[in-house]
């Protein structure tokens, strides 16, 4: 505190390239951790980076990432939602009852599941935001309620198969749309468009920053960052294009991540979530509609849990009463590994996504290596603990440095 006045004069402001790299390595510790995990598994098990495994990875863990998006918002709000695993079972069951038992078309199942998810969100949002019961308690109740409802709905038995378009949501591919020999040209083009879009948007935001007279990253670092992202994305695209092409779920996932990243990072609603999590009293006295924001965040969590329920039941090609057991913990772990604070106010969508990917890579890698069932949760638990400890240490260090 006593130093700030002097900082003005004594700390130089133009970052050198080396200094910039060091700073960003410190800020992006989570990305480094992700890279380490990927490298470790690809060394231990060469199969890990194969086209078929990378494709599998996407199909198998999409639901965690979808849940993590909503969970991050809840956690930044300084709340928690323990019910999402049960909501996955309930919404999957609803879709199965509509499509499998009722014979309705796939979209009816999707709409019904999303409708139930929204109802769940309204219910929990009401208790948390309007009545003022902590989300931990409300969602603990919800965890039991929705699990029970799923069991009743399914009569304690699994209901399958969905088949058709519903099945394709999580298992289908856009393959051979544009041809290509030995690889799928469509996949490559989609990724190329995404990379170009990324580069253009980065460049435009840099130009805007320059226009407003702000400090920007040194140009070589800026270009290097885009090149690295482009090379990695295209390498990934090349690998999966040799398997079955573009997974439909990957497109859905990308759209969701993009939308929620923008909501949290760039909109007033997102700002209000951070403000409430940072200091609820100050937010209230700044005109933030705390109840309203809390309410909609929980409704949104219900919606995303329903989406995850659809994705998961499609992947399983059926609904089971026990589906989604413990998934809430995967989503919560993804957020905390991704740098979210347990006391709210801190956390980014990008972090939660990387956190979810780390969890996915570890699970998948261990399965490939044939690590025994008991060891896998031990490793995951250790990684969660160490990740949060590292984050804490990193933050304390940056505070003392500043």
């Amino acid at each position: 505190m006593s130093l700030t006045q002097e900082l003005d004069h004594k700390v130089s402001v133009t970052p050198s390239l080396g200094r910039y790299l060091l700073d960003s390595a410190q800020k992006n510790g989570i990305l480094l951790a992700f890279a380490v995990v990927v490298i470790v598994f690809s060394v231990l098990q060469p199969m890990f980076l194969s086209p078929s495994n990378l494709t599998n990875l996407v199909l198998q863990y999409a639901y965690v990432l979808i849940l993590a998006l909503g969970m991050l918002m809840v956690i930044v709000l300084a709340q928690i939602d323990l019910s999402v695993g049960s909501v996955i079972a309930l919404t999957g069951a609803v879709a199965a009852v509509v499509c499998v038992r009722g014979g309705a078309p796939w979209w009816a199942g999707v709409l019904a599941a999303i409708g139930v998810g929204l109802l769940v969100g309204l219910w929990q949002g009401f208790w948390v935001a309007i009545v003022g019961i902590p989300g931990f308690i409300v969602s603990l109740g919800g965890m039991l309620i929705f699990r029970g409802l799923a069991q009743l709905l399914l009569d304690y038995k699994s209901l399958s198969p969905f088949g058709g378009v519903y099945y394709d949501i999580s298992n289908g591919f856009l393959n051979g749309v544009l041809g290509g020999s030995g690889f799928d040209l469509f996949t490559i083009i989609i990724f190329a468009i995404a990379v170009v879009g990324f580069a253009v948007s980065q460049w435009r935001s840099r130009m805007a920053q320059v226009k407003y007279g702000q400090k920007v990253a040194p140009l070589p670092a800026f270009i290097a960052r885009i090149v690295v992202v482009a090379v990695l994305a295209m390498a990934f695209a090349w690998q999966i294009s040799q398997n079955r092409g573009m997974p439909i779920i990957l497109i859905i996932l990308a759209v969701f991540i993009l939308i929620y990243g923008m909501v949290m990072g760039r909109t007033g609603f997102g700002r209000h979530i951070y403000a409430i999590g940072g200091n609820i009293l100050a937010a209230q006295l700044s005109g933030v509609k705390v109840k309203w924001v809390t309410f909609w965040t929980f409704v949104n969590m219900g919606f995303l849990a329903a989406v995850a329920g659809i994705v998961y039941s499609a992947r399983m090609n059926g609904a089971q009463p026990a589906a989604g057991n413990g998934f809430e913990l995967d989503a919560i772990a993804a957020c905390f590994i991704g740098g979210a604070s347990t006391t709210g106010g801190i956390g980014r969508i990008g972090g939660a996504v990387i956190g979810g990917l780390i969890m996915a890579v570890i699970s998948n890698g261990m399965q490939l290596m044939g690590v025994s069932q008991g060891v896998q949760p031990v490793v995951k638990g250790l990684i969660l603990t160490i990740a949060v400890a590292f984050d804490l240490w990193n933050r304390r260090r940056s505070v003392t440095v500043a």
């Binding site: 006593s2 130093l3 700030t4 006045q5 760039r266 007033g268 209000h272 200091n279 005109g287």
Partner: protein
């Protein structure tokens, strides 16, 4: 043996990129009350952290001689073992534990089998409480007694550790006059018992009143140590800011316009205790270009009045009328209040004013965020936000290397300026300032007074709530006195004296409805 209990010689403490203390020397005589003053950020707290072992031996250069021997403290425990106890401005008490439990926290009175001996704990606590003049039951939870009494619990805790050198950081900042008086009396009594005290304070009058000698620190340097008989407020201020402040309150043109806001029959009940009237049929008004002061003692209902007006953020069963420019308005939510161009700067900036996890620019934009949002979805224009934050940083002279710096790292005065910036960005017509200069240094106070003058010069209406009479008399055009939730007087500045205001502030209104 010398008669100095403490000599800190040539203390230099560096943080990366910054020298916080540069060759600081502090000599404290045995049995005296030694005051340290200086602007926020001058290095007072860092010096006390070096002394108490928070910054362990070896992380600074220079030497500390305590009680005739060189001291190497590696932690607070080390210094406490030697009888040095520091009481921080933000009290470190556990609200749900009893007074006795707090006094012996970490130092429990144990009986057989290492179990806590409750009889001994409460009896010894009662004895310590008697010494500090705290008339409460030792089993009362600390959270339900007032701040003044909590301060006494801290001192009782220090006494339980056989304190020989007591360090108090802004002990009276949050206390009302009565509690302050009591505390200062207690320090004199401890002095008579042989306890040496070091006291950090911004309240210069009080400091001259109680201290035997005074050391002024500025920008990490010792400016001078003077005996109490040589100290005057002007000399201290000159030392602290390094310049003469010919006036502590900037002068301004009085150019009062039409009535902007009028409050009628405003009555507010306690939020949780039914039937308890907190604000009692208050009538007041404020004009364009006018600074209206609200003077009241702690507990008079000053903050309750302001917060109930500001979007009904306090109280229940609120009745009465608010008129803005002659039209009755309902300010039922903070949001509506902001839309009616009312702004409220809280007395407690950390609790009610700032998101301490966020940076300067995010805090500045937080109340007026709508101005940065696109219509519809509400994209926040972050580049514009940066530009706005830079403007306020320059205009308010917020001392920080960048607006992307976290507000938790700023000094109190700069944090207060961030809160002010946040409310100025909502472009208010009516600005309610609740203790706007609490806990900030003389220089920053002057800047905030200047800012108030700028606001009224532009035709805004300003209401200032303050417990410091010189301040309220220095900046107001008209003063209301508040006592037990009721307005007991309305005094134009020409007729205001400290004596008549204090008399009105202590008047109990006879007909409490």
């Amino acid at each position: 043996m010398t008669d100095n209990i403490l000599e800190m010689r040539s203390i230099t403490k560096k943080f990366p990129g910054v020298i916080a203390l540069d060759d600081v020397t502090l000599t404290v005589k045995r049995g005296e009350i030694h005051a340290i003053c200086g602007e926020n950020g001058a290095g007072k707290s860092t010096l006390m952290k070096v002394l108490s072992g928070v910054h362990p031996h070896g992380t600074y250069s220079g030497e500390i001689v305590y009680d005739g021997a060189e001291a190497h403290f590696n932690s607070i425990n080390d210094s406490e073992r030697q009888g040095i106890v520091i009481i921080h401005q933000e009290l470190a008490l556990s609200p749900y534990l009893s007074i006795a439990e707090n006094i012996f926290l970490g130092n429990e009175r144990r009986g057989s089998a290492r179990l806590i001996d409750w009889n001994r704990t409460n009896a010894e606590a009662a004895e310590l409480m008697r010494r500090v003049g705290l008339d409460e039951n030792p089993t009362t939870p600390v959270g339900v007694i007032g701040v003044g009494k909590q301060q006494l619990v801290e001192i009782a805790k220090a006494l339980s550790k056989s304190v020989r050198l007591l360090i108090l950081d802004e002990p009276t900042a949050a206390l009302n006059d009565n509690d302050s008086e009591h505390l200062l009396g207690l320090l004199r009594m401890l002095k008579a018992e042989g306890v040496t005290s070091i006291m950090i304070s911004h309240k210069l009058g009080e400091l001259i009143d109680i201290a035997d000698s005074i050391t002024v620190i500025r920008d990490g340097h010792t400016i001078e140590t003077m005996a109490d008989r040589d100290a005057t407020q002007d000399r201290l201020i000159r030392d602290m800011v390094g310049r003469d402040l010919s006036q502590r309150y900037p002068s301004r043109e009085h150019n009062i316009g039409a009535e902007v806001m009028r409050v009628q029959d405003w009555t507010v009940y306690h939020p949780t205790q039914p039937g308890r009237v907190m604000i009692d049929h208050v009538n007041l008004n404020v004009h364009a270009g006018e600074v209206v002061g609200i003077a009241g003692l702690m507990g008079a209902g000053r903050t309750e009045l302001a917060m109930s007006l500001f979007g009904r953020s306090y109280g229940s069963q609120i009745s009465g009328h608010v008129y803005i420019r002659g039209e009755e308005v309902r300010l039922d939510t903070v949001w509506e209040a902001i839309n009616h161009k009312v702004a409220y700067v809280s007395e407690d900036r950390k609790r009610y004013g700032l998101n301490l996890l966020a940076d300067i620019k995010t805090n500045i934009s937080s109340a007026g965020l709508k101005r940065l949002e696109s219509p519809g979805i509400g994209w926040v224009n972050e580049n514009q936000e940066m530009r706005v934050a830079e403007e306020y940083r320059a205009a308010l002279n917020i001392k920080a290397p960048s607006v992307s710096m976290g507000v938790s790292k700023l000094s109190g005065g700069n944090q207060q300026k961030v809160v002010l910036g946040k409310w100025l960005y909502t472009e208010p017509d009516i600005l309610i300032l609740d203790e706007p200069t609490r806990g900030i240094d003389v220089g920053a106070k002057y800047e905030i007074y200047t800012l108030i003058n700028d606001m009224v010069a532009r035709g805004k209406a300003v209401i200032v709530i303050s417990s410091e009479l010189p301040e309220i008399m220095g900046i107001s055009d008209r003063i209301y006195t508040l006592s037990f939730g009721a307005i007991t007087g309305e005094v134009p500045i020409e007729h205001a004296t400290a004596e008549n205001l204090m008399e009105l502030m202590t008047t109990e209104k006879e007909t409490v409805k």
